[in-house]
Subunit: 267 residues, 4 copies
């Protein structure tokens, strides 16, 4: 089971143009800092946040209780001109968990409902003995192939193409995909096997010639999983693995075996 928190700025759109449109560089700074702070605060409890649409963010929060969520919600209210609402849900797959969380949030009213402020609710239950599976994916040799050759914007378009292809392929496995800078993507992927990833990578290589690799980490929290995924990626880079995926699992982390997983998940 993975625990996902959907975070939404309350009534943000209208605020950005009231009483008149606010300076764009200020809004960009505001949104970026909100994202940074959420990562620092959830990060202090081993969570991980993705910026998504900046006014709607998605976080992996295994092991983080309701009180800690409330504390973070308060801290944002105390230091920002806006407030946030949050809904938490857990499920066997990341996609399903965020879907449940979003639904719970939507029950409280529209994102642009003036009366809806600082919702904090749980869709089903907080995860006690779950695990997080994260794949840290990157593009092979992007610096030599793109960054140092193509224009900054063309490289950016390329990365966006790969990103969208990955999003669409991985959704078939109920996994999500987030860009984390450079040529790096982070993919919450409870239930996926190494072969699933190799199959996805093969498809993308066929479509656009880009080769990918992934360190996969399985841990009790987003931080544990992310650290292991990073190490897995380093092992691939160092040529210490036979193939372009490498899974590392935290000790004591009870999960079903990778080979069995797909069947079960796709039930």
């Amino acid at each position: 089971m993975i625990q996902i928190t959907v975070i939404q700025i309350d009534n943000y759109g209208p605020w950005t143009v009231t009483p008149q449109p606010r300076r764009e560089s200020d809004l960009q700074a505001l949104q970026a800092r909100l994202y940074a702070d959420l990562n620092l605060m959830f990060g202090m409890h081993k969570g991980l946040v993705f910026y998504t649409r900046f006014d709607n963010l998605i976080a992996i929060t295994n092991g983080i209780d309701l009180l800690t969520h409330q504390k973070i919600q308060d801290s944002i209210k105390n230091r920002y001109p806006i407030t946030i609402s949050m809904a938490i849900a857990s499920s066997k797959t990341p996609y399903k968990a965020q879907k449940l969380a979003t639904k719970k949030l939507q029950e409280h009213g529209s994102a642009q409902d003036e009366g809806r402020r600082e919702v904090l609710d749980v869709a089903n239950e907080l995860v006690m003995d779950g695990y997080v599976q994260l794949a840290h994916i990157d593009i092979n040799n992007i610096t030599e192939r793109l960054t140092d050759l193509e224009s900054a914007y063309d490289t950016y378009i390329n990365v966006n193409k790969v990103k969208l292809m990955l999003m669409e392929e991985l959704k078939k496995y109920d996994a999500m995909l987030f860009f984390i800078g450079g040529d790096n993507f982070m993919c919450p992927c409870n239930g996926m096997s190494e072969d699933d990833f190799l199959s996805v990578f093969e498809k993308i290589k066929e479509k656009c010639g880009v080769e990918l690799k992934a360190g996969i980490g399985i841990g009790k929290t987003a931080e544990d999983a992310s650290n292991l995924a990073d190490i897995g990626l380093e092992l691939i880079r160092a040529g210490k693995t036979g193939r372009q995926v490498c899974t590392l699992k935290q000790e004591g982390c009870e999960i079903l075996s990778p080979l069995q997983k797909r069947q079960i998940i796709t039930d």
Copy 2:
């Protein structure tokens, strides 16, 4: 003429994994704050920065001189564990300007060259009497159609699809497209006409059913243009314009008439 600055973190990839992979929530906070700070600092001189790939950023910097760039470069070195390199270029279109700037930066060595640090160079010349044309594009009724109905991640995928389609269509006009949060995009588009935008929007509507609108601002600086684009968008939202585009121009801003522009640009 529009002035573009390409910003690159020096040798960032290797740093993130030395001596071992750094915690992801810290890296996300670092990158987001760098982006926020660059917007605040360039913003104080009427510039505007886009996060792009976070380790490679693109800024509109009309009216911002070399000394100010250097001051910003120093300030990052003084407050961050990393340094940045920057190259500035100007051209009739945003795409060409960033291409020139990237090329100038690449001449100084690879993004992952250990010896290349804090480059600051100008490809051709700083713009004295140019202008910035910015389109602030958003998706019609996204809150009702997506945010309040679909899951957070599905809405996100949708926005990413629209983004990539816009990037590809707008590149044909030598324009760039950046996501700025929610359902909003900012498009540096010197040389494009309102009809060009309507034509792009029509294509996207046919492809995926999404309807778009755009306030277009023309001003001496990114801030001026962005403010006008915002007001244009508000006018469309208020039903005060006959169509889904609305252009506002800063007084004293010398540009060629919209009707004539396309011909010249496409030479």
Copy 3:
């Protein structure tokens, strides 16, 4: 027992002038953000940090373990151009605890020792069942008496005079005193009684005519104690207490009184 962490930027002085003096506004921003981040990160675990000399900070860290300290130390290294060392100690009084912590830090070398980096050590033991006693002190009617009448700088001098007097008087009780903005001071004061504070306030009133009041909170962590101290101060402001001190204690918080002050506290 109160647990204190002494935090020190490693070899900071020399860094600020290498290779030449760094811009002062950058250094002020750097130091202020370090302070803000430390408060956010320790705050997520119910700690509280005081800026003290900015390159040497003092934190109350009851309930915060070594791993969390290490995580914060790493996070600073990952996002700042400087690193920090920390030593933790516990004692019956705040002054003694910081003294032990400082001594432990000094054993590892000078603050300006190039080789000493990221020390993390514990002087005696981490507090398991201790408590934090905090007094939130403010100046009566400062807005009417000073802020709205005197010049900004004269009010500032006045606040500094009161601060130094408080520091000197409170040290006699092994308490510390930190300025937290406006006319507010926060005083870690395990072992002091309400009468002790009234006696200190009387002395200061005689010396310079300034009248003070204090909400005193006793809790398991700095956050708990601080919240209770705030509520105590509000009760005094609302005229709900007979005198200028008001102590509130968290349920289940077992304390002993060094000098028989227990009776007074629990009255």
Copy 4:
């Protein structure tokens, strides 16, 4: 002529306890970041801000016009839950300038007047051809004498004692004194001579045995003066000056000679 801006958070005290006291670590983070941001934004235009009481700040703003002040005021409103008011004044001495600025601000209402928000006013006139004189003062051998020997808190008390003595002595010269971290003080001191400083330092040495030195910079802006003061201090540290003060002046900066200044100022 030096230009001073007095900055005040609007109605801050009541906000911090509405509807109930806000968490102290959040408030400390908020205040510290406001200070950092003001330094970054004024710093981009060569100004320098001192934190003073955090809710009341003092800035040196020679060369910074009203529009830039307004932009900073807007940026704070766009990114913080609070707003700021500002009054600008100029005078021959720093003390007089802040006094005029404070008076102008007070004319608009109390710091805790609910109706007073985002005041921006000028007491007399903005400085066009003035200069800033800044002394960067530090304590001789503090690391060896205090930081590495005494407890963190005792060193802090010592620095506070020296600070208050300096404040009181320097006020006689219409100069101000701000702590900038470590053992460093920044003193806006238009009109003071090197002998004045030596005389002040002598008094303090007699009173408490602490020896001080000062680099003095004279420049068109706070940044220029501060940079020169830093270099002056480095020259003293390197033993390149005969005495414990060293003045450097920016070329083209028209001021009266140091020896003549005192007479004129004290008119």
